[in-house]
């Protein structure tokens, strides 16, 4: 499978009342009305509001549900976000264009946790997306719409907006092009795989593979290229900091790192996707089945990532045991629940096989957020009294994707 990823760097975004998106010299012009119309199509939503937040302005985006990177398929089979914007044809070949430096952010009152992105002020360092331009979509919930319908509508709006923005690049020459193709590697190199846990445990807690929620997924294989075209889409509204948004699925850093080292110090032998299930029996099945796939791939080692907290550590530890007992060495990526003082046990579950763990930080650490000039996405913070623009201290848990467990950021916890 071969994909050419043409990348376009955005250094400025201008939001106008109307007009199709236009990219020239790194400046993206966006017409709010046209973007809203593209987002609303087939979403069941009306009155989608579009706001621009620039990385340097002191602002806060609240009620964040998902972040999506604009991409569009310019040649090859299918569309981006197969199963949502087009048929579920295998993604990851042909040519896809990417707008770098911009995220479409869907906001809404779904799920129960506040999730926010802070920009241009103290506290922005905890938001992995704070260096991006944000086009924020906010849509009122139509009368009588269920949670599930509203969720679906917001998701369609975000994906359609992302694809629509990337259309501006269809006939342009990229700033740079990456070729994603895993050629043969020296058989003496270690065969390394990636166990990519997705979380799908019910409405507003789903992850989608080619448009299908993976609630009943038996672990299966994925080619690394498939994520580049949005084969994995997030609808999992968990505690904000441990969220894996669509943006990070599209840019999965474990896949990027394994691809970069393929043929050099390892053979990137494959990606196994598995679900984090809600029952113990299902967790055991997934762990065992995934390890079997690892054996069929003749893996020497595997990196394992997860989403969410709590019960999902058990999926991780069961998988760690199953792989290690198969003779496949593991490294896990986890965040920690060590309490606000950092003095509680980091992990609620363990196995003696988990001797190689990467930390992405303690969720419970309290961080100060500076006051901001503007709030986008809502009027008031959930569960936090006072004006939504105020400065306050909060657990890292509220900062969107701050401790995501695919290892996007450089944050970690260390022993003191």
């Amino acid at each position: 499978m071969r994909l050419e990823l043409g990348r376009f760097s955005i250094r400025e975004v201008v939001l106008l009342p109307a007009g199709p998106p236009r990219l020239e010299g790194g400046i993206l012009q966006v017409g709010a009305a046209d973007l809203a119309a593209a987002a609303e199509r087939a979403s069941g939503l009306r009155g989608v509001q579009v706001d621009l937040v620039r990385p340097t302005e002191p602002a806060r985006i609240i009620h964040v549900l998902d972040a999506v990177q604009p991409r569009v398929k310019v040649s090859g089979p299918g569309t981006v976000f197969p199963g949502f914007l087009g048929p579920a044809v295998t993604a990851g070949s042909g040519r896809t264009h990417v707008l770098d430096g911009l995220a479409v952010v869907e906001t809404g009152l779904l799920g129960i946790h506040e999730g926010l992105i802070q920009t241009g002020s103290s506290g922005a360092e905890w938001s992995p997306f704070s260096s991006l331009f944000h086009l924020v979509l906010t849509a009122p919930r139509p009368e009588g719409m269920t949670d599930r319908e509203y969720d679906h509508g917001l998701r369609m709006a975000g994906l359609q907006a992302a694809a629509y923005l990337a259309e501006s690049t269809r006939h342009l020459e990229p700033d740079c092009t990456e070729v994603w193709e895993l050629g043969p590697a020296d058989p003496a190199l270690p065969r390394v795989g990636y166990l990519y846990f997705l979380q799908s445990q019910g409405d507003t807690r789903d992850t989608f593979l080619y448009g299908m929620p993976v609630r009943d997924l038996i672990p299966t294989l994925l080619h690394p290229n498939e994520i580049l075209d949005g084969a994995i889409v997030s609808g999992d509204y968990v505690i904000a900091s441990q969220k894996n948004p669509t943006y990070i699925h599209q840019n999965n850093p474990v896949i990027a790192e394994l691809r970069a080292r393929h043929g050099r110090d390892l053979c990137f032998a494959g990606v196994i996707v598995a679900n984090e299930h809600g029952t113990m029996a299902d967790k055991v099945r997934a762990a065992e089945y995934a390890a079997k796939l690892g054996r069929l791939l003749n893996l020497h080692g595997v990196v394992i990532s997860k989403e969410g907290g709590g019960n999902a550590y058990t999926d991780l530890m069961l998988a760690c045991t199953a792989f290690e007992e198969s003779g496949i060495r593991t490294v896990l990526i986890v965040n920690e629940l060590a309490g606000p003082e950092g003095d509680l046990p980091s992990l609620p579950d363990a196995t003696r096989h988990a001797d190689a763990i990467i930390s992405v930080g303690n969720n419970d650490a309290v961080v100060p957020l500076a006051p901001v000039a503007r709030v986008v996405g809502g009027e008031a913070l959930r569960g936090i009294p006072g004006p939504a623009t105020a400065g306050f201290a909060c657990p890292l848990g509220l900062l969107y994707a701050a401790t995501n467990q695919i290892g996007w950021t450089r944050l970690r916890a260390v022993e003191w």
Binding site: I112, H113, E257, D343, S346, A365, V414
Partner: protein, 352 residues
């Protein structure tokens, strides 16, 4: 530039290092020597003018062990009189009474006098595990013969603490990690570090895991219920089932409390009377029928059929979603005490 005033250092040692005697003098009560004694002599030399050991306070190891509160108080009173900038206790190496004594003195000096303190002992000294939490402890070997190796580091940290210079991480500064996790920025993103660590592991090269594994208690189970047909059974849940409206504001995550609600006269939980607030799962099935989280309907059936003696008239609830483990353990103890007082025989604890 003005040279800083030399720091006022007070040392705490046991009867042996104070020069009073060996094991036979371990019952010696608290006392004071002006100036340095024992390790304090080497310490003062190593401080090289940055500090002066103004006094040495001592206590016999047996006296300390036998009168822990009183002896520590007396020692701290004497230390206070010398207005120290920093207190150095030990080194205790692997001495099993001396180590805990040093740790208790350090903690009391910090808490009562607000003066920084440090000690030194072997990592396996019971003083570390039992009393050392949160203290600065320089690791040593087992034997006092290594005094010369340890004291330079003790002196260096004493000066930093005395001057209120914030210390760096344990690995850099040379003190024992205190079991506290603190966030920092690594040079590389987690994903890159993960692949690098895996390659080290596969090549058989050394690597250091970034997260310690928790140590779990082994809890012996209670003996089986002798006769369930005569038993009083209580329902306890972390599923966040509360009266509709959540009158006591139970949290959706990180519960700060547990609650107790009546079941008298109820055969069945419905959305009219109860709701589910637990935020770590899809609440729709539980909200449609709260019995599916707290099985009141099933328990009433068992009661009616005589399978159980009776269902206790109250249920207990908290939210088990990212809830602090130490707090959860405390809720368990408190609920258990309440259950014992009510002579409940056994508990059904459905999990989410």
């Amino acid at each position: 530039m003005r040279v800083a005033e030399p720091l006022r250092v007070v040392c705490y040692v046991n009867q042996f290092f104070a020069g009073i005697g060996g094991e036979e003098k371990a019952d010696t009560g608290p006392g004071v020597r002006e100036g340095p004694a024992g390790p304090g002599l080497l310490l003062e030399r190593l401080l090289a003018g940055a500090g002066t050991v103004v006094a040495t306070v001592y206590c016999g190891d047996n006296y300390m062990a036998g009168h822990p509160a009183e002896a520590v108080a007396a020692v701290v009173d004497r230390i206070a009189g010398f207005r120290p900038d920093v207190v150095v206790a030990g080194p205790a190496f692997n001495a099993g009474r001396y180590g805990p004594a040093c740790a208790r003195v350090c903690r009391a000096v910090q808490e009562r006098l607000g003066v920084p303190a440090l000690t030194a002992m072997a990592p396996q000294n019971p003083g570390v595990e039992l009393e050392g939490r949160g203290l600065i402890v320089v690791p040593t070997g087992d034997s006092a013969a290594q005094m010369g190796k340890v004291m330079p580091k003790v002196a260096e940290l004493a000066v930093k603490l005395g001057r209120r210079v914030p210390l760096g991480p344990p690995a850099v500064e040379g003190y024992l990690p205190r079991g506290v996790r603190r966030n920092e920025w690594a040079p590389e993103p987690g994903a890159r570090r993960a692949v690098a660590m895996l390659l080290e592991k596969l090549a058989g090269r050394p690597y250091v895991s970034e997260v310690p594994l928790p140590r779990f208690d082994r809890v012996p189970p209670a003996p089986p219920v002798a006769d369930v047909r005569r038993a009083t059974i209580a329902l306890v849940t972390e599923g966040g089932v509360v009266p509709r409206g959540n009158p006591d504001r139970l949290e959706a995550a990180r519960a700060s409390k547990w609650l107790k609600y009546p079941l008298a006269g109820l055969a069945d939980l419905t959305p009219a009377t109860h709701e589910v607030v637990h935020g770590g799962m899809d609440r729709a099935p539980g909200n449609a029928d709260p019995d599916r989280i707290l099985p009141l309907d099933a328990m009433r059936r068992l009661e009616a059929e005589g399978v159980v003696g009776r269902l206790y008239g109250y249920y207990y609830v908290t939210t088990g979603n990212n809830t602090d483990m130490a707090a959860a353990a405390r809720y368990g103890r408190e609920i258990a005490a309440d259950l014992l007082a009510a002579e409940v025989t056994a508990v059904v604890l459905p999990s989410t």
